[in-house]
Symmetry: C2
Subunit: 370 residues, 2 copies
């Protein structure tokens, strides 16, 4: 894969204009790169911090060609980019992460099979090819009493708790069939985990990797609420988590930042990790790296896709990141008054719709020799 | 003075589009504000990170009116804004820092008189009202042998070592007269200082102030080369430096970040501080605050002018900032390879003209309890 470093002042294309694209564009600007963001909404948050942008749908072939023509490399804020779009881009410009990483992670079925193929543990799961196949899938996963909580997750377009249905077991079959219709899905046994973790790693063209410390993530209503680093886990678990992420990134010949969400479970024997989801991009659970690390996940993603040297991922502080959803943002000034050392990020979104990610804040606790 | 906080997503106007304007716009975006940058050059570095901009000269009254109409508050990247422009803006929109702060600091004569009026020490100086008045001014400052190094500084438009002439003493009278012509100037005795310091302080509408730690600044050819924090000075000197900055800011009823450059001299008795220059804006010697502090000078300036709560100015690390001038920028990748924890900022300027500020980098050394 091409690894010639982008020239100073080169142009990086970003597909997707939300807060991740915004923070990527800001990191690119810090290094003197130009950016061009492609997104469908005319008021996309990333547009306001990017030198140029293209308002276009993710199915607009002409727009992809225009983006490719303007950029030295194109990267992604999110994984739901059509195969056609990826084909157009890949034929015209360097893209990173690689096409296969997006294809595998945008389809839960492909992703589960990929993780299985690496021999990494996941929660017990079964493929579901539409409503008619659901009963067999349920039967294959439920316990002897027929009732066991499950998640039915659409194979495509799910994120932040969207596109999924929690079901109690066989008794919910009818409801689940109605919800699913003829769509493909993954049926996943709900595991009773101790904590949720994520690994944020970055991989360069040549294969060099660096890992941020592992946060503990707490979700509310399927959406990340808080990331706390360091997670309360042993060094062995931390090291196993990184090893899982390394295997995944290497198998995808990955370039850029990758996030792997995991569950820590304790069944019978000792604690062990299950891979939950792979995100081929910067990740909400890595926002604290802006404040707590010399080089943030956003900057390291930009460095990686630009073929520039990776930056240090060490923490100089413990950190806590809290998302501001919907009307939480109305308390922004009170949050600043309460703690002047709080670092606030607002994404410039006008409408504070319920559940919408409006911003986040980070609090640091300095490391001290003990 | 008005102190109602800007609404979330409000618009901040920035006069000046260089690297300071760029980093101000980035800090504003972090807090979810919109920005509009006014600058004369179509490729101004700040434009690429700002949602909107106006290409116009600093003497374009219509453009100032347009800027005022778009913004909730207007602030400044630099102090050389004409009285006319300030008048137009002040009549139409909230401005911060206040007009008087810009008027005093854009004219070295006014600035010296202002510092004198506060009873703060400066290097010995004399006003010079054009070439014909130079001989008397020189005579009033030179020592008995008639030769004493001096700086002749134009009253207006000087910065980064521009607009000034070093002269050996009376023997250089003719040369200095030719250089000066009929312009107004300040003649300043060159003092033999131990180190140069600066205080970066921020003041809110209500008068609350916060101070960053004092860096030691090293110049090369009149341009800042390195800022190192903490400066090797006693707590008494650090505290005296802050007190000087506080007196200056209070006398100007200042709002925003203000920088005061000082010399530490040791004459006869103990060490003492001389005020060198006041900059009514964020300052090159405060760039390290992005990496070493919870809230940077840029963000605190934005918070102050927006009427939002000031942020903490504590350092969580020692820091060293080095400017990249002209072709220094060609070594950017080598700098990153050499030290992966180096934080690099490039300003997106295309032409690396000799002496031009192209970027900077910051290195941190963590604080440890000893």
């Amino acid at each position: 894969m091409a690894s010639e470093p982008l020239p100073r002042g080169g142009t990086i294309g970003i597909l997707g204009g939300g807060q991740l694209g915004r923070m990527l564009a800001q990191a690119a600007a810090k290094l003197g790169f130009q950016t061009c963001v492609l997104a469908p909404e005319a008021d996309s948050p990333a547009f306001a911090v990017s030198g140029s942008h293209i308002v276009a749908g993710y199915d607009d072939a002409e727009a992809f060609k225009a983006l490719a023509a303007r950029c030295d490399v194109v990267t992604f804020e999110f994984e739901n980019v059509s195969a056609e779009a990826l084909g157009i881009l890949e034929g015209a410009v360097r893209i990173a992460p690689p096409r296969r990483a997006l294809e595998v992670t945008q389809d839960r079925l492909l992703e589960k099979r990929f993780v299985d193929s690496l021999g990494l543990a996941t929660a017990p799961w079964a493929p579901v090819d539409g409503a008619h196949a659901l009963e067999d899938a349920l039967a294959s996963l439920v316990g002897q009493d027929g009732d066991s909580p499950m998640f039915l997750k659409l194979a495509r377009q799910g994120y932040d708790g969207k596109g999924q249905l929690r079901i109690g077991g066989l008794s919910d079959l009818g409801k689940a069939q109605d919800w699913l219709g003829e769509k493909a899905a993954v049926l996943e046994k709900a595991v009773s985990f101790e904590i949720e973790l994520s690994v944020i790693a970055v991989r360069a063209y040549g294969g060099a990797m660096a890992f941020y410390d592992v946060p503990r993530n707490t979700h509310r209503g399927g959406v990340l609420h808080e990331s706390l680093v360091p997670a309360p886990v042993s060094d062995e678990i931390r090291s196993q988590a990184r090893s899982y992420a390394r295997q995944i990134a290497e198998a995808l010949d990955y370039v850029g930042v990758i996030a792997v969400e995991m569950f820590l479970v304790r069944e019978g024997g000792g604690p062990r990790l299950l891979v939950n989801e792979i995100a081929p991009r910067v990740h909400n659970s890595g926002h604290w790296t802006i404040e707590a690390c010399a080089v943030s996940q956003f900057e390291n993603h930009i460095r990686a896709v630009a073929g520039w040297p990776l930056g240090a991922t060490d923490r100089h502080a413990d950190a806590r990141m809290v998302n501001l959803l919907g009307s939480d943002v109305d308390h922004a000034l009170a949050l600043l008054r309460e703690n002047p050392a709080r670092s606030l990020h607002l994404y410039g979104k006008r409408e504070a719709r319920a559940g919408r990610k409006m911003g986040h804040y980070v609090e640091l606790t300095l490391l001290r020799d003990s």
